[in-house]
Amino acid sequence: MKLILLGLALALLIQVHAAPTFFIDPGHGAGDPGAHVGNLNEADLVFNIATQVQAMLEAQGLDAVLSRDQSTAPALSARVAAANASGARAFVSLHVNFSPSPTVHGPRVFIARPLAPRAKDDPSPWDQAAGAHSDAARSLASALARSLSTSDLTRVNVQTLNLAVLKGLSIPGVMVELGFLSHAESRDRFNDPEFLKTLARRVAQGMINWANSNPDASPSDTSAGAHP
């Protein structure tokens, strides 16, 4: 009996340990470049940044898994299902933006629309599951927005939007648009590997700050590196 209990406890420990803290979703993927101008495309940029964020988090003891590799482009619902099944504490989808207005620039941070007021006996529909985590999602989004709000990247606000990649999430979810390929100066910077590293540091720092403020995330007092 003692052995069985010990085995169960060990299995539980392994399960808890195996669950990543973050599920990172680099948007788009193979065959779906996302926003693209010249030799730059969103799918490659966000994959580059996501792998750097993952490494920075893991260097600080926070496990993170990616939704895709460079050869795949899962459907949005498949990314959500994988995030829900991963046991991660939070979901962060990384994107690069494009606007018909060439002067618009700077990062954007989005969360799902909060749940509309519902009757007490009316259960939340599955597709609005993320709304149940809206407070946690907003706190993660705020941490990311603060980390991305710097003198050279402008102030970032948290916005709500009806996003497919946040639909059906059973964990707090955030989408980050890291900048605009339609903005000439930003486009030049996206060509610079150091700028991508800077963005990765800021995203990782926001996630670490959120994990630090969340008692269940159990990170140490960490830093992803100094802001340049």
């Binding site: 470049p33 996302g34 926003a35 494009f98 606007s99 002067t103 939007l161 497919a164």
Partner: protein, 181 residues
């Protein structure tokens, strides 16, 4: 020998017939051009207000245009969409869709749902990015809802099928209203 030839030819005709039958509905999608005129030009005209993105700052600009009051509500919405897809007049506004963007079909139900089926090749031309996708969808939905008070929602399809999103971001799997933006 002659009988074998006849049987071979009959077999070939049979195989071709089966192949032809199984492929009868697999031709290219219907082109997104009107095969018959949307209006005769004899109908009364009506002013419509079409939304375009501001070309300088974030925001939207409304431009007036005329459509013919055809008996078919779907044909009226099609006229409006052709004006939206062809882009703004003058300066101050930008296009909400790339040049040459097309719909495949549009119809309006008695329940007040406008179904806009977009051409898949046109959707591939969208530049991507959440902001750009937001602008396209907002201009489309608002232009329809602003001008047709009996239309309450807009369902977007692509190639006749429901999609998660147009370009990887905003949920279009269910009918949209202005409250979704």
């Amino acid at each position: 020998m002659k009988r074998r030839w006849i049987l071979s030819i009959a077999a070939l005709i049979f195989v071709w017939g089966i192949w032809h039958w199984s492929h009868r509905n697999r031709g290219p999608l219907k082109p997104a051009v009107e095969e018959s005129p949307l209006y005769t030009g004899k109908e009364a005209k009506s002013k419509v207000s079409i939304s375009f993105p501001d070309s300088v700052k974030p925001g939207f600009i409304q431009q007036d245009a005329d459509i013919y009051l055809t008996a078919s509500k779907g044909a009226q919405v099609k006229q409006l969409l052709l004006l939206l897809f062809s882009g703004p007049q003058g300066t101050g506004a930008s296009a909400a869709f790339p040049p040459g963007f097309k719909y495949r079909e549009v119809f309006v139900t008695e329940a007040g749902l406008a179904v806009v089926d977009l051409d898949p090749d046109s959707v591939k031309m969208l530049p991507g990015g959440t902001s750009s996708e937001f602008v396209s969808l907002y201009c489309l939905v608002r232009s329809i809802l602003d001008n047709f008070k009996d239309i309450k929602k807009v369902q977007i399809l692509v190639g006749g099928e429901s999609r998660e999103s147009l370009a990887g971001h905003i949920d279009i799997s269910e009918p949209l209203t202005i409250a979704d933006f």
